[in-house]
């Protein structure tokens, strides 16, 4: 037992693998938040007047709001005036190819194991790399343009496709939605914009790697994906961040809209810096993600693997407005050391015969706390609605906590709603069985945990599934109870 404990400690003390800082000159706004800063952001981004107006409205609304306190996570109060709301890598000109990208930036990606070139050649994934809030390289643009797919940074979209942005921005997550949504709406600096025209099946999986750099910069991305009638797109989002001493706030917004018969598959791997063993440093990941199944037979599927961040607090949700629309949520959330996670989903059934599936796997180790919080709401008019939820928790060690807070609100007698939850630990007999067959305890735990998460990994795109398994073993190594 004592050797195991030592092993745990040793592994828990392991430094964050991706902890390094890229030395790129950054151009930053002064600290603090006021209307002038928002005007500065808007000017820097050469935004039209209506965008600035919208930002200011959001900011004025934000001033009236108070920070929520109901969540099952704790953090010291955030001083919103102590952060920089705009920073961009200094660039001399518009880039046409990868050669023109700052070599430092390229090196960073290489360290992360995702060199752009390799991505381009091997995986056929178009990468819109967000490096400190400004897109530095966009690949495969030509091929996508052929199909009529628009895949660009949010700031470009505002300039080049203002009518689309104007129509959809804030239509799923209005700036009045919550405290962090209002903040994001006021100060968002970049993000991705995807538009899939009618009947187009996006020829490749779209991907953005986010990366936080530059100390004290909050990241306020804003992603908007629109799938027109009969279209399909699979979008991957993944993040790693360098080691920092100060907490960094990440308050992004993701909005998805699907029209008739369209489908969006949104996959996330989140591995922001989780803080050290005592939870010092680490990212606050407070994100509002919401999809609107607007048309009939439309589908939105969220898949997430959450291993990083000192605090993860998000509920990717689906509003099932169109008849027969489908919402899915698959999640693996791993917390170790002093990490905290309060995550889950909301499935709002409005249309007839709407269906939703929730599969949530929580794993807590070390001294962490992992909560599932989910809402299934069946509206009065949503006859024939169907929901199945399963949320399992796995506890590793006796210092951690697992919590489930499912809310089921049913307003229609034809609905069928089922919720199941279990909590358990890795059995000593399971470990023994694998030990007996020559597997080290650590490998045995990995194998069991991977099996436990299989349902979620199965729905991840191939490239991500491999990375997810790797991440999981890194996050959990040695935490054998």
């Amino acid at each position: 037992m004592s050797t195991e404990v030592n092993e745990i400690e040793e592994l828990a003390n392991r430094e964050y693998k991706y902890g390094f800082v890229t030395d790129v000159e950054t151009e930053s706004a002064p600290k603090g938040l006021n209307e002038d800063i928002i005007r500065l952001i808007s000017t820097k981004k050469e935004e039209p007047e209506w965008m600035l107006e919208w930002r200011l409205k959001a900011y004025r609304h934000w001033l009236k709001m108070t920070e929520p306190t109901w969540q099952n996570v704790n953090y010291p109060p955030i001083d919103y005036q102590d952060a920089i709301y705009y920073s961009a890598p200094k660039m001399k000109k518009v880039l046409n190819s990868l050669d023109e990208v700052d070599p430092e930036v390229l090196k960073t990606f290489e360290k992360l194991g995702i060199p752009l070139e390799e991505q381009k050649i091997l995986s056929g994934v178009a990468v819109d790399a967000v490096f400190d809030s400004v897109s530095v390289a966009t690949t495969f643009k030509a091929k996508l343009a052929e199909e009529g797919v628009i895949f660009c940074s949010m700031s470009d979209a505002i300039k080049e496709h203002p009518e689309l942005v104007k129509q959809y921005i804030g239509s799923v997550v209005p700036y009045t939605d919550n405290f962090f949504a209002a903040l994001n709406s006021a100060v968002f600096t970049d993000g991705s914009f995807v538009y899939i025209p009618k009947g187009v099946r996006c020829p490749m999986e779209l991907s953005t790697y986010f990366r936080i750099n530059a100390a004290n910069t909050g990241q306020f991305e804003r992603t908007l994906i629109i799938a027109e009638e009969g279209s399909y797109v699979s979008y991957l989002e993944g993040c790693t961040a360098p080691q920092r001493d100060e907490n960094q706030l990440h308050a992004a917004i993701v909005e998805l809209v699907t029209h008739d018969n369209a489908e969006i598959k949104y996959s996330t791997i989140q591995n922001w810096y989780a803080g050290d063993v005592n939870g010092v440093g680490g990212i606050y990941n407070f994100v509002t993600k919401r999809g609107l199944c607007k048309g009939i037979n439309s589908k939105i599927s969220w898949t997430q693997v959450e291993t990083g961040s000192s605090i993860t607090w998000k509920y990717p949700s689906c509003i099932l407005q169109g008849d027969n629309s489908i919402g899915e949520f698959y999640s693996v959330a791993v917390t170790n050391n002093k990490q905290q996670a309060d995550t889950g989903t909301k499935m709002i059934h409005l249309g007839k015969n709407t269906r939703s599936t929730i599969v949530s796997k929580g794993i807590s180790a070390g001294r962490s706390n992992n909560s599932y919080r989910g809402l299934v709401k069946i509206n009065k008019k949503a006859s024939g609605a169907r929901n199945f939820s399963q949320c399992d928790s796995l506890l590793i060690g006796d210092q951690c906590g697992a919590h489930t807070f499912p809310y089921l609100e049913v307003n229609n007698p034809t609905a069928i709603v089922e919720h199941e939850a279990t909590t358990s630990k890795i059995g000593a007999d399971q470990i023994f069985y694998l030990n007996q067959r020559g597997l080290a305890t650590e490998d045995a735990v990995n194998m069991i945990v991977n099996g436990y998460c299989k349902e979620v990994f199965n729905v991840l795109p191939m490239e991500f599934a491999v990375e997810a398994q790797k991440l999981l073993s890194v996050s959990l190594e040695g935490s054998v109870g």
Binding site: A402, L408, P413, A415
Partner: protein
């Protein structure tokens, strides 16, 4: 001064009159507890939908009335006979408008090991016990209704079962509200079951007339080492009334407590049933059944606190909602750090019978130990089409097949009650509620 404050002031003013009528008891040591509770009551606010524990239960209709302290009334035995089980087979306590009625009650001269009496008498005669347990478990510093109950604490059932005594006869306690509109009663129970003792208790809440009344009841149960307690509560008040109830159970080493909580009546009813394992090896069952119609609202909150290792808890709550009624369920299981080898199972099942019925359920697990088996499940749905088809293929009419299945669904909860008379009565009552035709009632219950 807002209406909330006005209402609180109303009760505070009433307390003066209440105090004057205590006949010298206001000088007793216990009276300080009442005064503390009253000052807490002043500090606390009535819950609103913004309070997480009340987010689905709007109690504002209850706050529209200034409920008065009840008057003592005399009623005849025939009026309540139908509410009671045969007095020959039960030890009976009857409270009318919250006041103990000696003539209607029937307590055998001497039952070995059993002390059963009105709580106000027990506060004087069994001071050591009441001092030790009364208001020690149902804490009043956070719950405004408990604070109110404690401030006006006077009468109720006091049951003490001494070490190694097994009470063969079940005990029935009837709380009936009689004449008087807008009356509040605060029935208060204290059950102390000592080591190796066993007892079965049936608590019945009824109204004699259609007056709008408010029952605010608090029950504390102490189950000592190896003791076994079965506790059935039937709430069948009139559909205009309000019912707020709190149950606090303390389980000691290897004790066993099971509760059956049946809610049928009241316009708004709220039950808080909390159990805490204070030592190892305990076993706790919390079962509940709620049937609602019209515009009723029933809210069940349960909380099982696994504070110690090696304890088991089982929870089964089922509900059938009709018309515009609404049901809320919130089941919390807390497994504290070091409470290893805990088994906790919780289930909540609901059937909605009409377009406008609503269910809000929130089963909740909070776990801080790793070697545990915990699960919860919640379902909301309708009757299985296959089962309906099966019955219809065997000649059951659609309506009858449907009600038969609902009856089977609901009666599941009361099946394991060990007092045959109580089980039969509840099953018959269910059948009568669910099946409209009388002949089918007998068909099923036979």
């Amino acid at each position: 001064m807002n209406s909330n404050e006005l209402l609180k002031n109303w009760y505070v003013t009433n307390f003066k009159t209440f105090e004057d009528n205590l006949n010298g008891e206001s000088k007793s040591k216990f009276h300080q507890v009442r005064k503390d509770a009253l000052s807490k009551f002043r500090e606390l606010d009535f819950p609103t939908l913004k309070d997480e524990d009340w987010r689905y239960t709007n109690i504002s209709p209850m706050l529209n009335y200034n409920f008065r302290q009840p008057a003592r009334v005399k009623i005849k035995n025939e009026q309540i006979e139908k509410f009671l089980f045969d007095k020959k087979d039960f030890i009976t306590l009857v409270f009318v408008n919250g006041y103990y009625d000696e003539t209607l009650s029937s307590i055998p001269k001497e039952v070995k090991g059993l002390t059963i009496k009105n709580l106000s008498t027990a506060i004087k005669e069994n001071f050591n016990i009441t001092e030790k347990y009364l208001a020690r478990f149902a804490l009043y510093n956070t719950n405004i209704f408990t604070a109110l109950s404690t401030a006006f604490l006077k009468e109720g059932a006091f049951i003490l079962v001494e070490k190694n005594s097994v009470i063969e006869k079940p005990i029935q306690i009837l709380y009936v509200t009689a004449t008087g509109e807008n009356v509040i009663t605060n029935p208060r129970n204290l059950f102390v079951v000592e080591e190796n003792a066993q007892v079965k208790i049936v608590e019945i809440h009824k109204s004699l007339e259609e007056n709008l009344n408010f029952t605010n009841t608090v029950t504390e149960v102490i189950v000592d080492n190896n003791a076994v307690v079965e506790h059935i509560k039937l709430q069948d008040e009139n559909l205009r009334s309000f019912h707020v109830s709190r149950l606090e159970v303390d389980l000691e080493k290897s004790s066993n407590y099971s509760s059956y909580n049946v809610s049928i009546g009241a316009a708004i009813s709220r039950n808080d049933s909390n159990a805490r394992f204070n030592d190892e090896g305990g076993e706790c069952t919390l079962n509940g059944l709620y049937l609602t119609q019209g515009e009723q609202l029933v809210d069940n909150h349960t909380m099982i606190d696994h504070a110690k290792p090696h304890c088991n808890s089982h929870e089964l709550y089922k509900g059938v909602m009709n018309d515009k009624s609404r049901a809320v369920f919130n089941g919390k299981v807390l497994v504290r750090k070091d409470a290893q080898k805990t088994n906790a199972f919780q289930e909540n099942k609901n059937i909605l019978l009409s377009e406008e019925a609503i269910v809000d359920t929130k089963p909740q697990l909070e776990i801080f130990a790793d070697d545990v088996k915990c699960s919860h499940g919640a379902t909301i749905g309708q009757l299985s089409k296959d089962a309906l088809f099966y019955l219809r293929s065997r000649g059951f009419g659609e309506e009858f097949a449907r009600t038969t299945l609902i009856y089977a669904f609901a009666s599941d909860v009361v099946h394991s009650i060990s007092i045959p008379e109580v089980r039969d009565r509840l099953e018959a009552m269910l059948a009568e509620k669910l099946l409209k035709q009388k002949e089918t009632v007998s068909l099923i219950t036979e």
